[in-house]
């Protein structure tokens, strides 16, 4: 399994907001572990989807020069269970961005409609750990923004529909 919890960006306004989607598929193995007879998307992985959407938004805002790490989940409130075959839309917005970190809030909905059913409301804080050392030890190079993430943004910008 890959640690990627969004499938693509459908909207990206640099330094402001982004919308990414994820399809929940029965083929995903982890869905069958906790509740085998009733697969549901784990809520913590929904938080991760928002964290990845928001993390790329915050990272891009400073040209991926910072090591953007999830430091705090102010709140994550869930309103409904998510089942296979559903599409999640993560809408994230940067509330504050500074040298040392950022705060982001967002809403997760079912489907692409901006007024679709709300799955969750999430508030996150990221730390730019090079600026906010707090005694942790980590590599000097930027280990956070791997090709996996930067390619997501590239795909969005190069949205080509290739018909055969």
């Amino acid at each position: 399994m890959r640690w990627i919890w969004i499938d693509k960006f459908v909207e990206f306004v640099p330094k402001q907001s982004a919308v990414a989607v994820k399809n929940v598929s029965l083929a995903e193995e982890y869905l069958h572990d906790l509740y085998p007879a009733f697969p549901i998307m784990p809520h913590t992985l929904i938080i991760e989807g928002m964290a990845q959407t928001a993390g790329i938004l915050v990272g891009e805002a400073r040209n991926f020069s910072e090591k953007v790490i999830l430091a705090k989940i102010g709140k994550a409130v869930f309103h409904r269970l998510v089942r296979p075959g559903e599409t999640l839309a993560y809408r994230a917005r940067i509330d504050q961005l500074s040298e040392t970190g950022a705060s982001v809030s967002g809403t997760v909905r079912l489907g692409l409609q901006s007024d679709g059913p709300v799955v969750a409301e999430i508030e996150l804080m990221f730390s730019h750990i090079d600026k906010n050392l707090a005694g942790a030890q980590f590599p000097e190079h930027n280990f956070v923004f791997t090709r996996q993430f930067t390619e997501l943004l590239q795909s969005y910008r190069a949205a080509a529909n290739i018909t055969l």
Binding site: A71, K72, G74, S98, T100, M125, N132
Partner: protein, 138 residues
């Protein structure tokens, strides 16, 4: 239009309740941010962000808290500098340095017994209120 110290206190209280997940009753003027209210590194950034939002009345002229002005950075580094701290007590040079970095804090209690713990206790709710007041009302 000047904002009263009481109004500032109320807003600061609201910010701390939201940022730290504590009850309103816990946010008293003497409550220390670290010890009493459980604030950690990331919380200080959260508090700064929320204060900036709470005290911005005109989006064209946002209320900004310059980095390190309210919550001095490098305090841990300072605490391990022998010039400023010796045997858990703050030296006169250290006291001077603290007063320079946190002119809005109330040093009365600290001066009676200048320990490292005393220095950490300087960061309490009243200190935050004093800081905001000095920024807004000059």
């Amino acid at each position: 239009m000047a904002i009263s110290k009481d109004a500032i206190y109320e807003k600061v209280q609201g910010v701390l309740v939201d940022a730290l997940g504590v009850d309103e009753e816990e946010v008293t003027p003497e409550a220390t941010l670290r010890e009493d209210l459980g604030a950690e590194s990331i919380d200080f950034l959260d508090i700064v962000f929320r204060l900036e939002k709470a005290f911005t009345t005109d989006p064209a002229k946002p209320f900004k808290i310059p980095r390190g002005e309210l919550f001095p950075e490098n305090l841990p580094a300072m605490m391990s500098d022998e010039q400023f701290v010796k045997d858990g007590r703050i030296t006169p040079l250290g006291s001077e340095e603290l007063k320079k970095r946190m002119p809005f804090a109330d040093f009365a209690e600290f001066d009676k017994n200048p320990t490292v713990q005393g220095a950490q206790n300087l960061l309490n709710v009243q200190t935050v209120v004093n800081y905001i007041n000095s920024k807004l009302n000059g």
